[in-house]
Amino acid sequence: MTKKGWKDLPTGGIITKAGSALDFKTGDWRSEKPIWDKEKCTSCLMCFIYCPDSSIQVKDGKMTGIDYDHCKGCGICAKECPVKVIKMEMERR
């Protein structure tokens, strides 16, 4: 999303669109990124239980991925994973 300059923003910092919190990607200050190995994952969902930010995506009882828009890179999932299929990698942006 291209951010507007000061001349184009609404006066007084108001938000003119409802539901704009959906556009707020709270994970953009992450410094480490969890990398998940789908093949070796047993879908025990320990990561899902421990994730403090609801960033483990699950469908029909199976882990399907990580929500990088909101994951802060805390590493708890990698630490708690009993089969060690989540690795933390440095991330530069």
Binding site: W6, L9, T11, G12, G13, I14, I15
Partner: protein, 389 residues
Amino acid sequence: MPRRALTGNEAMAEAMRQINPDVVAAYPITPATEIVQIFASFVSDGLVTTQFIPVESEHSAISACVGASAAGARVMTGTSSQGLALMHEVLYQAAGLRAPIVICEVNRSLSAPINIHCDHSDTMGSKEAGWIQIYAEDSQDAYDSVIQAIRIAETVFLPTMVSTDGFIISHCMQGVEILEDKQVQDFIGPHRSAYSLFGGAPITVGPLDLQDYYFEHRRQLMEAMNTSLTTLDAVNKEFKQKFGRGYDIIEEYKTEDADHIVMAMGSTCGTAKVAIDKMRAKGVKVGLIKLHVFRPFPHEQLKKALSKAKFVTVLDRSDTASSMGGPIFVETRAALYDQMPKILFADYIYGLGGRDIDIEEIATVIEKGEKMKLQGKVEKPLDYIGLRE
């Protein structure tokens, strides 16, 4: 135009009656109490249609004002000293939210020690809050400036405070020319705001604004301040043209041939004019610059007005504890940095806690300045008037 004997407080209350704001939220404080007390009686007597909100503190008063302003209302309040200090954090919010609120302020010293009389410490404590600041010289000026302030605030979307010197103006009676109610309404026009909670599509006011946007929003505020001088000037010109009187951002008194300039704000300007007349009778080429607006600081106007000055005597009715002198002195010197080698400055802190200043005292510092001007050297860049050693 009817002329009535009014105190500064009565004149400001009368201006508020004619403005008929949608909302007034206020808490009493000496010496500004009367402004909203008189206004409250206008509300009770049905002379205005204002929603009056009595609150439990000045913090609540200005908070209610910000909420009402966000809702699209024309909002005013009155306060002084500790009351303005208690509003402090919300003053920044009013400015950041670009709420065009107008405060009728009465200058009073700040505690401790406790004192109810005039100096400019209270509004100087708010000079970085993003509010336009207008300092009235007398009741007429206060009345006219409050009316102008509505137009100014609602053009640049910056809150504006108009202040009078506590007791000296607020409680002293003076002949004041009052406009017709219709003239005031026509001049201020319908309320304008940057946005309104009742403006149609839903909006969010005051959301969290972090590293990625806060800077841009503050830059908007800086720009509004930068451009507001043009608006202040335009509104005053229109007022002058319609009603035959007005107040320039800086007023120059007998400065045409003056190489010695006295600078002051508020009621002292009247005293200084008499002192200047007296010194001129002795052949001293001295003039006065009255700062009518302190925020935004009129640096370009001052650069021009002081371009021929050799010596500047600054009268500061507050000391901001910077250890560098009063705020008028510090900011004027900063504004004139590029031409500094040519201009000598002396600052005098005076009148703290309401101590009187008289014609003789101002004439004495003008004489001192004349000596320093001839010597080409400032012995004491910071001194005091009327202080016991």
